[in-house]
Point group: C2
Chain length 199, copies 2
Amino acid sequence: MSASVIMYDLIVTRWQPDSRGRLERSALELYSERGFENTTVAEIAERAGLTERTFFRYFADKPEVLFSGGEHLEEIFSTAVRSAPEGLSPFDAAQAGLDAVAELLEQRRDFAVLRSSIIATNQELRERELIKLQSLAAALAQALRSRGAKEPSATLTGEIAIAVFKIAFERWVEPTTEEALNKIVREIFQEMRVLSNQG
Amino acid sequence: MSASVIMYDLIVTRWQPDSRGRLERSALELYSERGFENTTVAEIAERAGLTERTFFRYFADKPEVLFSGGEHLEEIFSTAVRSAPEGLSPFDAAQAGLDAVAELLEQRRDFAVLRSSIIATNQELRERELIKLQSLAAALAQALRSRGAKEPSATLTGEIAIAVFKIAFERWVEPTTEEALNKIVREIFQEMRVLSNQG
């Protein structure tokens, strides 16, 4: 790495404060236009008017662009569950957490829809998404235990709430869907209650 | 590969019809003794008294020894759901499938416990297990649709039943557990019903 490249990088970064956002947008556009596999980091950086070095300052690799928001989302989720009113049942506390997540995602619907369509095309990405969702279920169980939930209730609620969320999310990103995500989440929760009382 | 190696391999295979089972046992012993990462295919073959070539006839790689039974299990599961009495609710049909899976696993408890303890030690293996469980949830949803279940009931039941099974399985493999797996599955299902009616 020559000094001039480092200088160029510092200057560009200083002059363009939203490098991260531009890299994210360029990456999603390219993944969508050419396919995730056929896009290189060099191309993402070029479209964003930045260097590869800047890309790697923000993202460890190509998939990371799609998953780096996950930690923030998990944080929002856990905080909402922990601070939900005392005395709520585990499912209702989970619901409060999902409301907070839905609110966040609703503000970025275009991003969420595009991201979801890219993930659907690639097995490695689908697997990584599955692992992230599992981590979300574990975080939820942890937050519920901190509210006094016992086992297996905490883990069970964590798993079921994430299953409900996953199904709701898939309906929400369909092009024809107009309903808000938190409304769909409530409907699927209700469907789950009906199902579990049958038979 | 020389002709003599191939001949040796054929003879050993012919004389030892259960090569697959011996490779499986040797692999599990070694993964457990030395750790999954520190075991080589050559060592597995050697302990089984077979060649590496024979190993690769049965298994694509080291993890495959732990996951090759998954397809058979999925088959048993789907068949039991499809052939469950007409008129059962989605959850009760799923329960019939889990009973069949539990029966199969109960016959191989030692293997299941050892396998589970190995998987717990390695992130790659835990992720692969998660992906297999997701595939089981999808197979269950498919079997339920073939019985007339609609969406989102089919997918929701698939996800929830596998979550219940996962939690039950983890309790079952604990060294102090004496209860049968199908009994634990029923208890967790019941817990899920109670939870979903709270709040």
